[in-house]
Amino acid sequence: MKTPYSAFSLLRGAFNGQKHWEPAWRDPEPRASYDVIIIGGGGHGLATAYYLAKVHGIRNVAVLEKSWIGGGNVGRNTTLVRSNYRLPQLHNFFEFGLKLWHNLSDDLNYNVMFSPRGAMFLGHNDGDMIKLAERGDAMRCDGIDAELLTPKQIAKIEPLLDLSRNARFPIDGALIQWRAGTARHDAVAWGYARAADALGVDIIQKCEVTGFVRYGNKITGVETTRGRILAGRTGICVAGHSGHVAGLAGLELPIESQTLQALVTEGVKPMVQSVVMSQSLHFYISQSDKGGIVMGGDPDNWPSYARRGQPTIKEHAIAQAVTCMPALSRLRMLRTWSGVTDMSFDGAPIIGTTPIDGLYLNAGWCYGGFKATPASGWTYAHTLATGKPHELNAPFSLERFMTGATIDETAVGPMPNHR
């Protein structure tokens, strides 16, 4: 049993020089075989392992990570957590996750710093406001909070937005979800890792999956840079590298990998209270707990596995953000970075079985999978444990692309570069 993180443990440590703390997770050698292998130690892989052990009692589980846990998109995202999607399959799934987020720190005994500070979509014209009202109605029909705001109400929350009528992009209103917010991304990876490890899950870093062990149409294990490891069931959970890893098993997916960038400014006093997003324009901002303004925009919309972003894409997002909130122009940019995202061909994720026995898939998170971490882990664990989808991920099957049952929130069709 690990020492729980608590004020009491901290106080106890004050008398022994804080010497009682142990590493948050072990660094085990891989065993010859496991009941379940999860490929990819991002947020989703670690959450899946945790729920497999906790909810389904399956503890003979390994998470194989090619580099270090938290070095992928889980540690690169802009941490927005919300469930304000228009389509019921999506908002029901993300709302299930949002409910888990609200209790996650307690559940994991790890402070993930979830901060439900409200997330608003701005509307810049009548068309926007109609779409936002429709989205809000759809959400409220399924019991999810959503509130339309007038410019006056917005001014109370975000006084620095340019709400004048002669603004370049006038703001006519917004749709806010108060229960949405941000979390500390690294803590999510570490919290799930520590909790999964405590239940017996082996987290094996620097272990890249390079191939699959296959008998006929069944996958019975993986080849890795640390040798062959056998498994009853194998789950792919590698986000941006889904196409590559599925390709090792001979699968072609409805996914193309793209670069997504983000940036952060120097830290300043509180100036952005909520999360401000505009889908008509393409930018979003929030203020981190350290005070930096975190900003993002469109993906670099051509295929790439390089974690190098095109500067003009950032420039575009910055220009839009500065236009809407002119005070931002006074800030200096501190850092920029990017990640490889798995853009699916309807913009929705894929969680479920594959045409190959023993092989399961969790992929297609596009630019929005951080918020899904708990729900993704929960439903993928269910699928890996029972061989069948949970009712929440049943719509997100891989077959839906062939049967025409796509879940296309933005109605773009099979063109991830236009999403």
Partner: protein, 87 residues
């Protein structure tokens, strides 16, 4: 940012170009439903070279095929396509 050598205009900034899709995802109008869906909805998405259709959208607007590496971004070949290539 990198440059793409347009077969008609020579080297230009990548920002003048837009990516369309891979060559193997062009749907043959005569294809049966399964093959058509396969072309539309699956990609090899390799961590290496692929054949991609790009357009010089903010330039001469012609289409071309790039053989481009998806990790290094090195463009190994550019081939003109469409009526311009035949002229």
């Amino acid at each position: 940012m990198y440059q793409i050598t347009c077969p008609h205009c020579g080297p230009r900034a990548q920002t003048e170009f837009t990516y369309e899709r891979t060559t193997d995802s062009v749907v043959d109008p005569a294809a049966d439903a399964h093959t058509a869906m396969q072309a539309l909805y699956t990609r090899a998405n390799p961590m290496g070279l692929d054949e991609e259709i790009w357009r010089h959208t903010y330039g001469c607007r012609a289409w071309m095929v790039l053989t481009r590496h998806r990790v290094t971004h090195v463009i190994e070949a550019v081939k003109a396509i469409g009526p311009e290539a035949l002229a």
